[in-house]
């Protein structure tokens, strides 16, 4: 049996901030998220043995790559440790965590800092939309197209419509729930925005159709933000728990994970969807792999989910892929309140990507931090009562890279 990898806390920046308007660069963001994480977890920089940074497109948004190296600027004691930047589109933050976990499981390191960093408001929306196109097969799917990603996910909407039929009101309800949850999250980007289901169902200048079907309220946000978590070995966790008077049983750890890659082109995914039980078979595989590794039966053993809702249709798909309903019946979990805050399996108590914000390379790390907060009982106003085990699904591209984590404790 592999050794357990624990999460000892972390930090998230306020996703409502606009760092470009503040005149600040990516170094400031890295500095602040590290400062927040070290302060919150009461860990000294000198204890860190490696740093993994998730980032999607620093070189496009800020003309700055090589972000692993920037993390050691925080404190001279960090000079000399291994660092790396990881990129897998919107799943970059999760990939950084997978690498860190592997190093701890392999016994290479005892304590690793995982960062997710993305600064996106440095460019106008059209340019940023084009940059996001590099998460798909740019040359074949995005070149010369404005806002290519909503259009790619319009096609997922089309596939669902063709196979099972989609009632738009269910997508509007997903958006409404995410915005509503975000109001309880003091770091959520949209926490003070106006939203109602009637608004989500409306069309006009204030809720434009972005591609051919999905509207502004169906989309996640363009966000500046960073998140950090500390991953630790059992040995380090024991000494940390002793030092801070913590009960070993209550410390969250990674119980399971799944990582599966689909063909990058959406046409190929659409073809697979028509032949499979699940519309996104590789997403389903990442989820079932994580269930197996966590040695759980399925979603009935999960308290709540932080899923990738880059668009409402992505969360719509996640509902059935997690097993909350049979394929094609995700709408039932929307109608019967299963996914709401007081439902049997709330989805995105944090507000997710639609309500909370989606700094692309940060999202996976932010989801893990939220999962940690739920299991540790530290989620404040968006705490799911008694959350014991939380699943995250982080998707890169048009559901191409799929990463699932299951975080729980022994309490």
């Amino acid at each position: 049996m592999q050794s357990k990898v624990y999460i000892l806390g972390g930090y998230q920046t306020d996703f409502a901030r606009n760092w470009t308007r503040e005149g600040k660069g990516i170094q400031a963001m890295i500095y602040e998220v590290m400062e927040g994480a070290f302060t919150a977890a009461e860990i000294e920089p000198k204890e860190i043995q490696a740093i993994h940074v998730g980032n999607f497109a620093g070189e496009l948004y800020t003309m700055q790559a090589h972000l692993g190296a920037f993390s050691v600027n925080y404190d001279p004691v960090l000079r000399g440790i291994p660092t790396a930047r990881h990129e897998a589109a919107c799943a970059s933050g999760s990939i950084a965590a997978l690498m860190a976990r592997t190093e701890i499981e392999a016994g290479i390191h005892e304590l690793i800092l995982v960062l997710g960093v993305e600064l996106m408001k440095s460019v106008d929306s059209k340019t940023g939309g084009s940059f996001l196109g590099t998460a798909a097969w740019y040359e074949k799917e995005c070149k010369g197209i404005d806002f290519p990603f909503p259009k790619l996910f319009d096609r997922l909407y089309d596939v669902y419509d063709e196979l099972y039929g989609v009632n738009y009101e269910h997508l509007a309800q997903i958006a409404t729930i995410n915005y509503e949850n975000a109001k309880r999250n003091p770091k959520a980007q949209t926490r003070n925005w106006y939203m109602s289901k009637r608004h989500a169902c409306s069309t006009g200048d204030y809720n434009r159709t972005i591609g051919t079907r999905l509207r502004a309220t169906d989309c996640s946000q363009v966000t500046d933000g960073a998140a950090a978590i500390f991953l630790a070995s059992q040995g380090y966790m024991r000494s940390y728990a002793k030092k801070h008077g913590l009960s070993l049983e209550k410390i969250p750890y990674i119980q399971g994970w799944g990582h599966a890659t689909a063909p990058i082109r959406f046409d190929d995914k659409a073809e697979e969807a028509r032949k499979s039980e699940y519309v996104l078979p590789h997403t389903r595989k990442a989820i079932t792999d994580a269930y197996k590794r966590a040695q759980i039966e399925g979603v009935e053993d999960i308290s709540c989910i932080e899923t990738h809702d880059c668009f409402t249709i992505t969360e719509y798909a996640a509902i059935e892929h997690f097993g909350l309903t049979s394929p094609g019946e995700g709408w039932k979990a929307i109608e019967n309140g299963t996914i709401e805050m007081d439902g049997s399996c709330p989805i995105n108590p944090s507000g997710g990507l639609i309500g909370g914000g989606h700094p692309v390379g940060t999202t996976g790390t932010r989801q893990l931090f939220d999962a940690y907060r739920q299991v540790a009982g530290k989620a404040g106003d968006y705490q799911v009562p008694g959350a014991r085990r939380v699943a995250t699904l982080n998707v890169g591209g048009s559901a191409t890279t799929n990463v699932v984590h299951i975080i729980g404790s022994n309490s």
């Binding site: 920046t13 306020d14 901030r17 308007r21 503040e22 005149g23 600040k24 660069g25 170094q27 400031a28 963001m29 890295i30 500095y31 602040e32 109001k183 003091p186 003070n192 925005w193 106006y194 939203m195 109602s196 009637r198 608004h199 409306s202 006009g204 200048d205 204030y206 809720n207």
Partner: protein, 428 residues
């Protein structure tokens, strides 16, 4: 919270009336927007729609003229008054409200300068017991601060209901303030803004805005802020404080003569369009700045001070400690002026604890109003950044400013409770 189902805005054609009413509409409350004509009321609705960025808001706001007060007010659970800032006018409206309102409905005013007690003086006891100041900041869609100024006749239940409602339903950050001129935010904020107008006479408009720019913990430079507020409104707020308050910085509330001349010439700032204020744009869209002695506009001077640019660079990189140390330790004339304003802001804020906000909350009320109402770095965050109360007191003493008693009694350690205050340092 369900108690408020329908509300009315008097003066819904104005910016603050329409935007404040819009916040109620966003909470799902049916609103009646009263104005002198249906067109003006409709304009208010469009303001609220634009603030919410949602067309559906239009469906829950009804435009009415004041002819419908008698018919509509008895159904309203909350009446928000936002008519022009004139005591006789407000009293005239309150007398009507008192006559038509149902028992127990809440009546609030958005006044930022008139006395709460004076406004309700001629009204019934029931009116007084449900009347208070609920002062949002402009624009309320972005600035969440809400100064609540209770009337002495408000019961504990009314106070607690209004506070809870504003926080939970309207998503406001409440700051209970006393019934003093300018309450908390304007008293402290406009002290600095007016002192900047005084200094501009000697140093020039662009130099003051450069030295006290956003890198000193504010979204906009001070004189650009006065242009945004409007010089007439600035004078109204500042003169009211000058006339009714005599504190240790009383002289800094006196409107400089050149500013009065600008007001006389209707050079009121952004609202005056091409006429301008401290700044204006010429036909070629070039930014010009006023020369206070002549009131002529000239091309803006672009100051570049090596030290200040260095401070901004540290802020850009997130190295706040290095940036603050430069402000703290450098002794050039320019930095001394910067320090005078920063330390003056700290000194003036701490000295107001107990006078404008309840003493038991310490600096936290003033911190909240300055950050959530003005988007300025709150005073206690400055104390933290400068190294704590002892260090700050030494700097205040060195700058020949009054050292507040409230600072002397503070233990060492961090005091600011506002999250992520670094966002107020703008490195531009």
């Amino acid at each position: 919270m369900d108690r408020i189902k329908k509300m009315a805005v008097l003066g819904a054609n104005g910016t603050m009336g329409s935007l404040s009413g819009g916040i109620f509409a966003q909470a799902g409350i049916t609103c009646i927007f009263f104005a002198r004509s249906p067109e003006k009321a409709q304009r208010g609705i469009e303001n609220a729609v634009k603030q919410a960025r949602s067309d559906v808001l239009r469906d829950c706001i009804i435009p009415k003229t004041y002819d419908a007060l008698e018919e509509e007010l008895p159904d309203c659970d909350w009446i928000l008054e936002a008519v022009a800032e004139s005591l006789p006018l407000k009293r005239e409206y309150f007398s009507k409200v008192d006559r038509f309102q149902k028992k127990d409905s809440i009546v609030s005013t958005i006044s930022s300068s008139l006395s709460i007690e004076d406004m309700a003086k001629e009204c019934s006891d029931d009116f007084k017991s449900h009347f208070m100041g609920v002062h949002f900041f402009n624009p309320p869609g972005k600035l969440l601060a809400n100064e609540i100024i209770f009337h002495p006749n408000n019961s504990k239940e009314v106070k607690s209901f209004v506070s809870d409602f504003c926080e939970k339903m309207l998503r406001r950050v409440n700051i209970v303030t006393y019934n003093t001129p300018g309450f908390a935010g304007n008293r402290i904020g406009f002290q600095l803004l007016n002192e900047a107008t005084i200094y501009a006479e000697k140093y020039g408009v662009e130099k003051i805005d450069y030295l006290l720019g956003p890198y000193t913990g504010r979204t906009l430079p001070p004189l650009a802020t006065v242009d945004l507020v409007g010089l007439d409104v600035h004078k109204e707020i500042v003169s009211n404080i000058y006339e009714h308050v005599n504190d240790e910085r009383h002289d800094t509330f006196k409107i400089p003569r050149y500013v009065q001349k600008m007001i006389d010439k209707k050079m009121l700032g952004i609202k005056s369009g091409g006429v301008g204020g401290f700044y204006r744009f010429n036909d070629k869209n070039e930014k010009l700045a006023i020369e206070p002695l002549s009131l002529n506009y000239k091309e803006t001077e672009h100051f570049v001070d090596e030290l200040i640019e260095k401070i901004k660079l540290h802020l850009h990189d997130g190295d706040y400690k290095k940036a603050i140390n430069l402000i703290k330790n450098e002794q050039s004339d320019k930095i001394k002026l910067v320090k005078h304003f920063i330390l003056g802001y700290i000194s003036y804020s701490y000295s107001r604890i107990g006078e404008v906000t309840p003493p038991e909350i310490g600096i936290h009320g003033i911190d909240r109003v300055m950050s959530y109402g003005f988007s300025w770095l709150p005073p206690s965050a400055w104390v933290d950044f400068l190294g704590g109360p002892r260090e700050t007191m030494k700097l205040i003493e060195k700058s020949d400013l009054p050292v507040p008693e409230q600072l002397k009694n503070l233990p060492e350690g961090r005091h600011c409770r506002i999250p992520e205050v670094t966002k107020y340092f703008i490195a531009c």
